[in-house]
């Protein structure tokens, strides 16, 4: 069934942006950010989530999912490597926050660089030997890595095993802005800032050499190597940047949740984040943001139908992917007829 490009929101949006001059763009950006920042105040509207507190839902899952999906998109969408163990980096960030937060006097912002650094280090250590592998192999190895990280924290004493780590400190107040459990607006604004920083970083890299190199690697890795691109180096960079974002999300999550346990870092999380990327539109930042927002929010919004909600969730996924196989806001596709490479090439 050819129902694609039935409505093309991406080109509509891109059109407005391209026609706008600089001051107009600044105005659009500021208005959008402002409206998003007001979202936590809409708790009394139709947006309200039953059972779970609406402002908390905006932070987790919605905000954290968006952040992670953006990070995973660097790996899967930009450079075309299938990472099925992305949750590992999230877990590393979260456990860094939990351990350092309960054992040292450092606060969330001071621990954040450590969480990011440890996640990146894990990314490099995993990437160096495995990123030479391609396609399916990489997927399997990363999947294994995700499970290993979970099993290690499940079976270690320093991580308190299955009991998890409690009493993780909240972030310190920023001036008059206080982090509270029953009012998570400030948390939400922090996530939004982290998301904006991530988007800014990806957009900058995309138009520069790393972006070109990733694009070439994604389209044809051998050809990229023949262009003089050190493909392994760029793949490791992509993998590591993705890991950094996952680590940052983990630190924030632990500091918001105040308690973490191994059961929060299962393969399901990796798959769900990957679903956000694919559902929204792999490779397109705005698609990924939209996809993660919907997949994070929807199950909470329909919680009142209890058990049926996962069924509805699945139905939505299947239906949308059927009508829009490239996601809600797919990336620009220029190759209409990719010439099939000769066998034995």
């Amino acid at each position: 069934m050819k129902m694609r490009n039935y409505w093309n929101l991406r080109d509509w949006g891109a059109g407005i942006w391209e026609r706008a001059n600089r001051p107009k763009r600044v105005a659009i950006a500021i208005t959008t950010i402002f409206l998003v920042a007001l979202l936590p105040f809409a708790g009394a509207s139709f947006l309200a989530t039953p059972i779970a507190a609406y402002d908390a839902v905006l932070v987790y899952p919605v905000g954290v999912f968006i952040l992670m999906a953006l990070g995973l998109n660097i790996v899967v969408g930009k450079s075309g490597m299938l990472d099925l163990g992305y949750v590992a980096f999230f877990a590393i960030g979260a456990y860094t926050m939990a351990l350092m937060g309960t054992h040292t006097g450092l606060n969330t912002w001071e621990i954040m660089p450590f969480g990011i650094a440890f996640a990146m280090l894990a990314g490099v250590l995993l990437g160096l030997p495995t990123l030479r592998l391609r396609g399916d192999y990489l997927a399997i190895v990363t999947l294994g890595f995700g499970e290993i990280v979970r099993l290690v924290v499940l079976n270690s004493t320093w991580s308190k095993g299955p009991n998890g780590i409690a009493n993780i400190p909240m972030p310190p107040d920023i001036g008059p802005l206080k982090f509270k459990l029953d009012d998570q607006k400030v948390f939400f604004w922090v996530v939004v800032i982290m998301i904006l920083l991530t988007i800014w970083m990806i957009r900058r890299l995309s138009v520069r050499r790393p972006g070109r190199a990733w694009e070439a690697i994604r389209q044809d890795e051998d050809a990229a190597e023949l262009m003089g691109i050190p493909t392994l180096k760029y793949k490791i960079w992509s993998f590591t940047l993705g890991a950094a974002v996952g680590g940052a999300a983990g630190v924030l999550f632990a500091s918001k949740n105040l308690f973490i346990a191994p059961e929060m870092f299962t393969l399901n999380v990796s798959i769900l984040i990957l679903a956000c990327v694919v559902f929204g539109g792999i490779g397109n930042i705005w698609g990924v943001v939209l996809g993660a927002a919907i997949l994070g929010y929807l199950p909470e919004r329909i919680r009142f139908i209890s058990d049926a909600r996962l069924l509805v969730f699945g139905l939505v996924l299947v239906t949308v992917m059927n009508f829009r196989p490239d996601g809600l806001l797919p990336r620009k596709k220029r190759e209409k007829a990719i010439v099939k490479k000769e066998v034995n090439a």
């Binding site: 694009e215 070439a216 023949l226 003089g228 050190p230 220029r334 990719i338 010439v339 090439a345």
Partner: protein, 240 residues
């Protein structure tokens, strides 16, 4: 400049695809490697450009053994390959593809417009289609793009893998004419072909490859008149 392959062995897993070949390409030459399907032509080129690992033997370029130099660094040394089946970036425009060819060059900004002009002079068709996606070009145009892109790195030696594959006779003649033109600008060429007729007419020297072994090495013009070669590769027996 001189490219020399010494007793090269290459494996795919346990299968030995190249069983000890030696090939020499001197500066300024067009050397062709002809052979049937599966003879190991692509494998040889990929090993020279670094996409495949050497099992044993040596690849000597400019007096230096490069067998352990990674592929992307061989481009800096002056080895450039237009891959079999074109291997262009389908989602990038013609211009973006050509720009990728210069990815590694230190002074790429300064050289860019000059080299683009050179490519457009060789392939005027590409200039008409700068903004078209590589994947939507015709087969012949993709071949032009692959060769043009390979030239953007200012190679000393250009490796061409079956540039005539899948092209109409007229386009084949055209591509081979351009290959000679490129060679006249000082680029050494190692050309892999199944179209022995055209390749032997254009090349200075030729090697015949059969299941991983070089079975014959001679001046190209001699092979054109060799009855056995005519029988096997030119589709016309000695009696014709």
């Amino acid at each position: 400049m001189r490219l020399e392959i010494k007793d090269l062995h290459v494996h795919y897993g346990k299968i030995e695809a190249i069983k000890g070949i030696s090939v020499v390409v001197n500066e300024g030459e067009i050397v062709t490697l002809i052979g049937a399907n599966g003879a190991g032509k692509t494998t040889t080129l990929k090993t020279i450009s670094g996409l495949r690992k050497v099992t044993s033997g040596a690849i000597i370029f400019d007096g230096q053994d490069i067998s352990n130099v990674p592929a992307h660094e061989r481009v800096d040394l002056g080895i450039s390959q237009a891959p079999e089946g074109r291997g262009i970036f389908p989602g990038m425009t013609v211009l973006e593809n050509l720009e990728m060819g210069k990815f590694h060059r230190k002074n790429r900004k300064a050289e860019m417009s000059e080299d683009l002009d050179k490519v457009y002079t060789l392939f005027p068709r590409l200039k008409e289609r700068v903004a078209q996606a590589g994947g939507t070009l015709s087969g012949g145009e993709q071949q032009m793009l692959a060769i043009g892109r390979a030239l953007m790195s200012r190679p000393k030696v250009l490796l061409l893998d079956e540039p005539s594959m899948g092209l109409a006779p007229q386009m084949i003649a055209n591509i081979f004419r351009i290959i000679t033109e490129i060679n006249k600008t000082g680029v050494t060429i190692l050309l892999v072909e199944q179209n022995a007729q055209q390749a032997l007419q254009r090349a200075h020297r030729a090697y015949i490859l059969e299941t991983g072994n070089v079975v014959k090495e001679a001046k190209a013009s001699d092979l054109l008149n060799d009855p056995a070669v005519r029988e096997a590769y030119l589709g016309t027996g000695a009696h014709a």
